[in-house]
């Protein structure tokens, strides 16, 4: 087996946070001992990345992802520990690093490419591909100060994906451009993977991690909180992410007399992608399975705004006057929302099974499911949203 392309061993990083930085000699002389606080951005972080694999690095803001990436890239020095890297490495910490507004698109391509480690000849060879990828054929001789931000980002990414490293570090730069361009970027990443390159991807887009990474590492307050299969780590991440704003958070609980077998979110269009447009119809389809006969099942859901963690919409079978009779086996419950009216953003869905009589929980999956709404105006208040319910035997 090949040695790992990247070894991170017990890496810790301490930052000194000065109340006021002694950035002049005078300050330095007068306050010979500055008041400083130590902040550990990373503590004993270790993991290996096998050659040719893709690792997703996730964690909430301030968890140390970017610091770690900078240490791996050689921009920051670890306070202790070691990073061993084999092969040529390129780090995309910022798209279009060093772009200068006064220079033309063409000149900036060469400048930026040299920062990413391309020689002039390599850039010459890649130039047409870069321009085509960015779709900026007609603008390369314009100064980039006349570019729109979207054009800048496209050009930056186009250069970035034409570098030819064995190890590629990407920090949160995929979430750029319109959907078509994003798809193009993801394609390019997949191409890198097929070519057997090693990729470390830092991102907030958890779905991207499950889609393209072989493994994921979750950092939490500078420590490795979870590592392993992307789906598991992402699930853990969702729990922790929401758990921090809700201390009483329990991801899954209940007596399991009845269980949630599966939950599916289906849009009006019939697709079950994770993104929808405001105003689309949404159906939450809950399949229930009993472990012993249940006589008083009540099925409910709640939708939370991911930004505020407030419930924006909920409903339950009993409030619609539906009394599910005693049964043993499987049932399917569909909550139909004619038109989901809320603003663009992330939403979480909690689904619960409980007793109509006692309120006792059979099974609750708290914020286990999520979806994104794109393109909308923000509605702050709770509003009345009609929900239809239907129950069928399976």
């Amino acid at each position: 087996m090949n040695p790992p392309a990247l070894e991170v061993a017990d890496v810790s990083k301490k930052f000194r946070l000065y109340r006021e930085r002694p950035s002049s000699l005078k300050a330095r002389l007068i306050h010979s001992r500055m008041r400083a606080e130590d902040f550990w951005a990373l503590r004993d972080v270790s993991f290996d990345i096998p050659e040719g694999s893709s690792l997703g690095l996730i964690g909430h803001n301030g968890s140390g992802k970017t610091t770690l990436l900078k240490i791996v890239a050689g921009i920051l020095r670890p306070t202790s520990g070691m990073v061993r890297q084999r092969g040529r490495l390129a780090a995309l910490l910022e798209l279009g690093a060093g772009f200068h507004p006064e220079l033309t698109g063409r000149e900036n391509v060469y400048l930026n490419a040299s920062f990413l480690g391309l020689s002039r000849r390599e850039t010459d060879a890649a130039y047409d591909g870069i321009v085509a990828f960015a779709e900026l054929e007609d603008f390369m001789d314009n100064q980039v100060k006349f570019y729109s931000s979207g054009m800048l980002v496209r050009l930056g990414f186009a250069v970035a994906v034409h570098v030819d490293p064995e190890v590629l570090l990407i920090d949160e730069v995929l979430a750029v451009g319109d959907e078509a361009f994003q798809a193009k970027c993801l394609d390019r990443i997949r191409q890198f993977q097929r070519d057997g390159r090693t990729i470390v991807l830092v991102t907030h887009a958890l779905d991207t991690v499950t889609q393209i990474c072989d493994r994921a590492v979750m950092l939490h307050h500078g420590e490795v909180h979870a590592a392993g299969a992307p789906a598991d780590v992402v699930r853990e991440m969702r729990h922790v992410l929401l758990g921090t704003t809700d201390p009483g958070f329990v991801p899954e609980e209940g007596t399991r007399q009845a269980e949630i077998a599966s939950v599916e979110l289906i849009w009006g269009s019939g697709s079950s992608e994770t993104a929808m447009r405001r105003g689309d119809g949404l159906t939450i389809q809950v399949d229930v399975r009993t472990n012993e006969p249940v006589a008083d099942l009540d099925v409910d859901f709640q939708i939370l705004d991911g930004a505020t963690n407030h419930a924006v919409l909920d409903s339950r079978t009993s409030s619609h006057g539906i009394s599910i009779a005693r049964f043993d086996g499987k049932k399917r419950v569909r909550f139909r929302i004619g038109s989901f009216p809320y603003t663009a953003g992330k939403y979480w869905v909690t689904v619960g099974l409980s007793s109509r009589e006692t309120g006792r929980l059979y099974h609750v999956q708290t914020q286990r499911y999520g979806f994104d709404v794109v393109d909308a105006v923000r509605i702050q208040d709770r509003i009345d949203v009609p929900v239809d319910v239907e129950v069928e035997d399976l």
Partner: protein, 301 residues
Amino acid sequence: MRGGAGTVVRTSEPSKLRVRRRVREVYARREVLLNLVRKELKVKYTASFLGAMWSLLNPVVFLAVFTFVVKITNSSFAHFPIYLLSGLLAWNLFSVSLAGGARSVIDNANLVKKVAFPREVLPLSAIGVALVDFVLQTAVLLLFILVSGYGIHLPELAIYPLAFATLLVFTLALTFWVAALNVRYRDIQHLLNIALLVWFWMTPIVYSGFLVQDLLSGRSVLGVSLWGLYLANPLAPVVMGFQRALYGVVLPAGADRPVLPDVSLAWLAVVLAIVLVASVVFLLYTWRRFFELSGDFAEEL
């Protein structure tokens, strides 16, 4: 980002500077250096009609103005414009490099924080920009020397490479130093401006080197020869070297006293060689300092 397919290990220890290896690393990323110099020049002259012509215009105007001034004031200083420019261009290379070098790291903070590359590239690019101006302006001066009929003084010109090498090494050493220190103490760039002003007048650029020699020779304070002390300013022998190479004559025809210090070419060469060796040692020190501090630039900015 170290090129090649080797293994790179990063630890908490600031790695020791290994000059040969580091030179190779910087050379491997020469594209960044060239592009930065190109960028600086481009930005400097962008949206200006004459572009790089401005660089050339500067010495042309100097030559014209001083030729005129010398004429109307009936100054006894023979060929003052050539004397002035041969020293001034060397000084400009030095001071422009230092001023640009001091700001080079902080001006490129965004790059330093986001991209890994040998940080030496930043002060080097400041020197590169100054060097381009120097070459253009020296070409103007040489043209003037030839066209005006002043002519080249051949044995003296041989000292030019030595003076130039000494200037370059000393400039490099000091630029690395101020670039690294300025990241932590922003006072350095203000201090530098004042220091350069004093330094300029401590160097025989505008006034005749012989005057200083005449004034200070034989005098000493606490057993230290004042003329020796004056020459301890590395820029003094360097500028004298440039003047000797281009102005050429110690005692111009018809003048009642020498313009350049009355020393032999060999003596000047020896002094320059000593300064060169000392500058190399100084460079090794400042480069090491820069190298050690550069690991923390991304954090300090």
